[in-house]
């Protein structure tokens, strides 16, 4: 195991944690809060499009751990959400250059919307399971907790814009260079 690679993965863990923590701190409230991009997911996708295919799993696991360090979401929900997030990268990287601004922006927007819906779905299932002993309250909560709309779309759009502008820079944060492939022609290289 090369020391520089170990340090690079630790750097990714650190950057993912900071990205998730900053996203939490910025997303406190108000319209600006709702439009905070999902920085951790953007970092994950940007790097996933640049690493060797066999390192893909390490990327999403490391980003998920960074997010779990600063989030109250269940670690399993975060891990599974991140795993699904990188599925399109795994499938499409051999046909589309996902490092291109438009492709990575689109991917980030859809991916962040998925994470929003997934997070809401997990919260809903767990809450209703916990309230099962009080059916009247569970029913009232279920009929009024309409939180799929609104903020989720705002964050997805903000993430699209942020990925367009910052995606490349996030993948090149200090310490992450050695994780990236050296070859220039991404589609052909990604078969490796």
């Amino acid at each position: 195991v090369k020391l520089d690679l170990v340090l690079a993965w630790l750097a990714l863990l650190l950057w993912a944690t900071l990205a998730a923590a900053a996203q939490g701190a910025l997303g406190h409230g108000g319209w600006l809060g709702r439009a905070t991009p999902d920085l951790c997911a953007i970092l994950c996708l940007a790097l996933a499009a640049r690493v060797d295919k066999r390192d893909l799993d390490r990327v999403w696991i490391t980003c998920a751990l960074g997010r779990a360090a600063v989030s109250a979401e269940a670690p399993l929900a975060i891990l599974s959400g991140m795993a699904v997030l990188v599925l399109p990268v795994r499938w499409m990287r051999s046909v589309v250059d996902l490092r291109a601004p438009l492709a990575r922006a689109l991917l980030a927007g859809v991916g962040c919307l998925f994470l929003e819906v997934w997070s809401a779905w997990v919260l809903r299932e767990r809450t209703l399971a916990a309230l099962g002993a009080v059916p009247a309250v569970a029913e009232a909560w279920s009929s009024r907790a309409g939180w799929f709309a609104g903020g989720g779309w705002a964050r997805a759009l903000a993430s699209t814009a942020a990925a367009l502008l910052l995606g490349g820079a996030l993948a090149s944060l200090p310490g992450l260079r050695s994780l990236q492939r050296r070859k220039t022609w991404a589609p052909a290289d990604s078969w490796r």
Partner: protein, 480 residues
């Protein structure tokens, strides 16, 4: 082949993760918490991000600290009002009896029909099995046993499947009348257990009617009448207490059947009760006010995050863990304010679910302006923050017989102003912790309240966590 095998295994692993995320297994989550314990180091690295909002943090903490004395005063007023209204209000029910105040502090695991009660320690020896337990004028069950080692009393509720109590129908509806007006020979029946038939409204808890002495024709009130239950030692003390209102449950093949709707919330609303004994048996009904903010029961902690990366989550990450004695479900306070509860206690990290997270649930009661009697809200659950607000949180609940709870104070469609407090009945969540001021409104049986916490709870840099057992010494200085 190897690639296909890898893909299949990866797919199966992903399916398992998705499934366990939606339907969690406690053992798996616990194992993961311990495995991920080293993440505490990473969380510490991100902690300085909180300094960005240091002014907001100071403002929020100052606002809560300034209200602490008022919160404590209101909590004491609430406790006194609870003690007063736990006693029967009907003078006829006070005669020939003595009362002992008891606080419901929980239920044994998986036994919703058993209440654990805290009574004054010096009165524990006077409590005997069979003694009636009441909430105001309402009969709710009887004493099953006492646990002297733990200083607890266990009461069996009338909702238990094998519970039976003799009863008599009175001809007085919709409001009960004094006992002297009750016809001597009303219809007799036996009550006990929950009615399992269609109840008309989902979520209602109604008592099953058994063996009426003659067909019931109309709605009426039902009171305890144990005269024919020779084995009941304390029947004289139980007689006359209200059980509830007979309501029509279904019309089946031209026959009408009834069940009894009790005027209390058996699941989430029994906070302060009285144990009824013969005259002079309990010389002093008082229950001393426990100092819920005693420093030996709490541990101070700094917060590691400000806000959660997941948009819907309203949480804090704390720099302590199960190794410090923190357990899941423990109350988290700042001053006398409840700010959240521990939702996950890893060995080195604790996740706190704040009041503003959708799904945060707790038993609660309110001191409503213009109403002396505390309003038991039962179990309320958060819908999340009001649109665009940092301090206003929407809650929803279900009231038992809301028309009577609100009748005396509510104008046409007006919202009520109230102070909301935690109720008792859940382990590690002390009663009487203030949540903030609120506007209450009701639609049908659904209670809606908009709580104002006066501070953004996500800004707090330090909080106090309730410990599972008192540590026996000060938790490093200041009380919450």
């Amino acid at each position: 082949v190897a690639s296909t095998t890898h893909s299949v295994l990866r797919g199966l692993g992903l399916a398992a993760m998705l499934s366990f995320a939606l339907a969690p297994r406690a053992s798996l989550e616990r194992a993961l918490d311990w495995t991920l314990a080293p993440l505490r180091v990473v969380a510490e690295v991100a902690a300085p991000l909180g300094w960005i909002e240091i002014r907001r943090t100071r403002a929020s903490e100052r606002a809560l600290a300034e209200r602490k004395l008022e919160d404590v005063r209101e909590r004491d007023a609430l406790a006194q009002a609870q003690a007063h209204f736990a006693l029967p209000q009907d003078p006829l029910l006070r005669g020939g009896r003595s009362f002992l105040q008891a606080e419901a502090i929980g239920r044994p695991e998986g036994q919703l029909d058993i209440l654990q009660l805290r009574v004054p320690s010096e009165a524990l020896d006077r409590v005997a099995p069979g003694m009636p337990v009441a909430s105001g004028d309402v009969y709710v069950g009887r004493i099953e046993r006492t646990d002297r080692d733990r200083g607890l009393v266990f009461a069996r509720l009338v909702t238990a499947g094998d519970f039976r109590v003799g009863a008599r129908v009175t001809e007085t509806a919709p409001e009960p009348q004094p006992l002297s007006l009750v016809p001597a020979e009303g219809i007799r029946l036996v009550l006990g257990g929950l009615d399992e038939g269609p109840t008309g409204r989902r979520g209602d808890v109604r008592l099953a009617v058994r063996h009426p002495s003659e067909p019931i024709q109309r709605q009426a009130w039902v009171r305890v009448d144990e005269e024919r239950s020779g084995a009941e030692r304390y029947r004289a003390q139980a007689n006359g207490f209200l059980l509830g209102r007979l309501v029509m449950r279904a019309a089946e093949k031209r026959s009408v059947s009834f069940s009894v709707e009790a005027p209390v919330d058996f699941r989430g609303g029994l906070f302060r009760l009285v144990i009824v004994g013969p005259a002079g048996h309990f010389p002093d009904p008082g229950l001393e006010l426990a100092d819920v903010l005693a420093s030996s029961d709490w541990i101070a902690s700094r917060t590691l995050t400000r806000g959660d990366p997941a948009r819907l989550r309203d949480s804090l990450k704390l720099a302590l863990g199960a190794l410090n004695g923190v357990e899941t479900g423990a109350a988290v306070v700042f001053g006398a304010r409840l700010v959240g509860r521990v939702v996950r206690a890893g060995p080195l990290l604790v996740d706190v679910q704040l009041l503003g997270e959708p799904g945060f649930a707790l038993p609660a009661l309110a001191l409503v302006e213009g109403r002396e009697q505390p309003l038991e809200l039962g179990r309320i659950v958060s819908l999340g923050r009001a649109q665009g607000s940092r301090t206003r949180i929407r809650f929803v609940g279900a009231l038992v017989r809301p028309e009577e709870s609100f009748q005396s104070v509510q104008g046409a469609g007006d919202a009520l102003r109230a102070r909301v407090f935690s109720g008792s009945g859940e382990a590690l969540l002390p009663a009487g912790l203030c949540l903030g001021s609120a506007e209450l409104s009701i639609r049908g049986h659904v209670l809606e309240l908009v709580l104002d916490t006066q501070s953004d709870l996500r800004d707090l840099s330090r909080v106090w966590v309730r410990l599972g057992r008192a540590v026996g010494s000060d938790s490093g200085g200041a009380r919450p």
